[in-house]
Symmetry: C3
């Protein structure tokens, strides 16, 4: 078994996503099974929804043991060494951003493979990167963080748009993936560092 | 590109459903991305669940740019002209009822195309018409309105039943769709006007 | 039409799951349509998610009238004779455990039919048995009971593992299904009787 860089980064992202599921489940005082399920849905939820929408037959992770073992590893480590994980939270956030970038690229590729137009491909990339977290929050009984805090999906959308822009250029075509990834990671980390979030629409409460 | 009456009404309904997603997201203080996602899931959620249950390959809206642009338009208009939309709430409610009727018919047709029996076809019509709102409410962290307020699904069920009844008759076969639509719209608007809702089962609290 | 023992037990389980959906909906003061939907999603939700993940075309219950009529019957009886149902709660719990066992076996069989490995088959069995309840709780606006109360999924996982263990043995191969069922029912009922639940991870609140 030989790992490409791409596959390694994918598993790193899967690990980080699963850890965020474990954290959320522990915060909600879920039991061990609840923790395991939240680790899983956070890590594979986005890809699952993508595969369902595309209608490609069985969803990808069910045939991919590496992904499954990675999630079990994350479940085990994050549950046993919860306090240690907390201390390395910065690293988890960094891996999480790597996962966001890789998952977006994977989703875009899959969309292209099924001949969807650019807009749908970017949407599939964004769904792959972000909807695991949405399912995690719904199953935890929370309003999805994605919809009211932090810049997350926007990083995927911008990164994905730049990806298609670069692919159309002669010079940078071969670097489109890597540049797209770097942009997504950069937007995510910078928006966290400077505490930037998307604007909301405020309405007078008299209108309810 | 030529629009049939049917297609136009479908887009009108899509628009109204998307607007109701925007309204809900703004009420919940979601950010711009959250508003966009709720506009989408409200408009295409019902049809997506229908297509997933049928297992027809990729879901319908992913190949239908008119639907996607209509949702973006609704997102843009309802976000920018929020207060204006509020003032025209009656029209939005009317369009919403039109959407409910059209979506029900589309769902029934799709069920027939896949040779499901009448009961399942009516269920698919009802799901197409109503489950976008259910996903909207779940993602907004609310109990689905559909399950405890207003007559909504019942309009689809009655309309759908009458549709199959009319199809079996010699005289009215050609008018089955239009009569079904009018009945759904009428039930919905009248139940709103007279504040009629479905009965609930009340239990003594001592039984928890 | 001839019923096998297996089919009868399946319908018994479907009935009990639907009743638990009705109970939850009434507790939440949902209207008649809400009660019907919760009866349905609790009874067929797990199998639906399994079929979607496998990507087998249309989901199983849509072609199975016996399941649909059983759910309608449960809806009718549990709504009309709510107080009576409450008094026979023990029986409903017992039937519910039978359903859990049968659904697990059905899910495992389906996984084997599609040539998934043992781990995925057990996961599919567990999903078939438990995720109807998860959807029920999400649609009722609750945190899924499955994740923080009672032993439920663990029974499926242990039963499923023992099933594959028995299949590998020469002597007990033919009894694998029945032993698996009995083990699942026993674990479920004993854990209820002795009030055993899965451990949770407790963290100091200072760490949030």
């Amino acid at each position: 078994m030989q790992f490409s860089l791409f596959e390694s980064l994918n598993l790193l992202g899967t690990f980080a996503f699963a850890v965020s599921g474990v954290m959320k489940a522990i915060e909600k005082e879920y039991d061990l099974f609840g923790i395991l399920v939240l680790a899983f849905v956070t890590a594979i939820g986005g890809g699952t929804i993508r595969d369902l929408l595309i209608g490609q037959g069985s969803v990808a992770w069910m045939r991919d043991n590496n992904v499954i073992y990675t999630i079990f590893l994350a479940f085990f480590l994050a549950t046993v060494f919860f306090n240690l994980m907390k201390r390395f939270e910065r690293w988890v956030t960094f891996f999480d951003s790597v996962g966001l970038a890789i998952f977006t690229i994977i989703g875009i590729h899959k969309g292209m493979q099924f001949h969807f137009n650019e807009m749908i491909c970017i949407a599939l990339g964004t769904i792959t990167g972000t909807f695991g977290g949405v399912i995690r929050d719904v199953l935890a009984g929370d309003k999805p963080l994605l919809f009211h805090k932090e810049i997350y999906a926007l990083a995927c959308i911008i990164g994905g748009s730049i990806y298609f822009f670069l692919r159309a250029s002669d010079r940078l075509e071969n670097f489109a993936e890597i540049i797209c990834c770097i942009i997504i990671i950069a937007i995510r980390l910078l928006s966290l560092k400077f505490n930037i979030s998307l604007p909301k629409i405020h309405v007078k409460t008299s209108e309810k």
